[in-house]
């Protein structure tokens, strides 16, 4: 990590900007899905989608680009990182455990097992995209975009 205070400030701003959109998208999904049932399906949905997207994005991008660029930070650490949440899983599980311990265990198992599978699926698809050369064309565009900032 090189660069002084202005670059750090820029990085923090990029993460914050991506993060704000990620949190809004999560809030929208949670409001739509969490109230319908005992299990917090909204939190589960954003976490699984986020696992898939992060693994896909990082596999494709890190195959082509350095991890420190502003664009990568805004999308991965910012948007997808904020879109998913760990604190809500912990608190929802404890609150569920209070009355329905088997549902809390089901919720945790679903989150972990499918979270891992979605990460694997995103990573595998990312490698497929890299392997076809289609990803190379797509990432060429991203690299050019990243260079504008750098």
């Amino acid at each position: 990590m090189s660069g002084g205070a202005p670059e750090l400030l820029m990085r923090v701003l990029m993460v914050g900007l991506g993060g704000a959109f990620g949190a809004l998208a999560r809030y929208g999904t949670a409001v739509l899905l969490n109230e319908r049932d005992l299990l917090p399906w909204g939190t589960l949905a954003v976490n699984l989608a986020g696992c898939f997207l992060l693994a896909l994005f990082l596999t494709v991008i890190l195959g082509r680009l350095s991890g420190g660029s502003f664009f990568v930070l805004a999308i991965s650490t910012g948007f997808i990182g904020s879109f998913t949440t760990f604190s809500a899983v912990s608190v929802e599980s404890i609150l569920l455990m209070h009355s329905f311990i088997h549902l809390a265990l089901l919720y945790l198992s679903l989150t972990l097992a499918f979270g891992y599978m979605c990460t694997w699926a995103g990573h595998t698809l990312g490698n497929l995209i890299l392997g076809t050369g289609w990803g190379e064309r797509w990432c060429g565009r991203v690299t050019a975009g990243g260079k504008v900032h750098d």
């Binding site: 949190a23 809030y27 404890i94």
Partner: protein, 110 residues
């Protein structure tokens, strides 16, 4: 902003911790679980922040964004891919169990 806070904590931890265990993500997830528990249950917040959009802004917005699940899974997955499945499993399971314990402490002990 939660995401910016998570990034800064991650950077600070990465400056002093060189091990394979992703301590930065672990720290933000534990801190966030504890803080969200307190924030939801503590009478102070119930009394002072009932009105307006402050509760969703802090609870869902800030603390939700401060913690992350996708990075946890990705780091665990990558540890397994780098021939460290034991450490990956330990990382994910210790995060979940410690997170539950801290959320419980935040909800019921304060």
């Amino acid at each position: 902003m939660g995401a910016a806070g998570r990034y800064l904590v991650g950077r600070a931890v990465a400056g002093v911790w060189r091990g394979d265990f992703p301590l930065g993500t672990f720290m933000v997830n534990m801190l966030g679980s504890f803080a969200l528990g307190i924030f939801i249950a503590h009478p102070y917040f119930a009394v002072h922040l009932l009105n307006g959009g402050v509760r969703p802004a802090v609870g869902i917005g800030f603390l939700g964004s401060f913690t992350t699940f996708s990075t946890l899974m990705y780091e665990g997955f990558m540890l397994a891919g780098r021939k460290k499945p034991g450490l990956g499993a330990f990382y994910v399971l210790s995060s979940v169990l410690t997170g539950l314990l801290l959320a419980w402490a935040g909800l019921y002990l304060f």
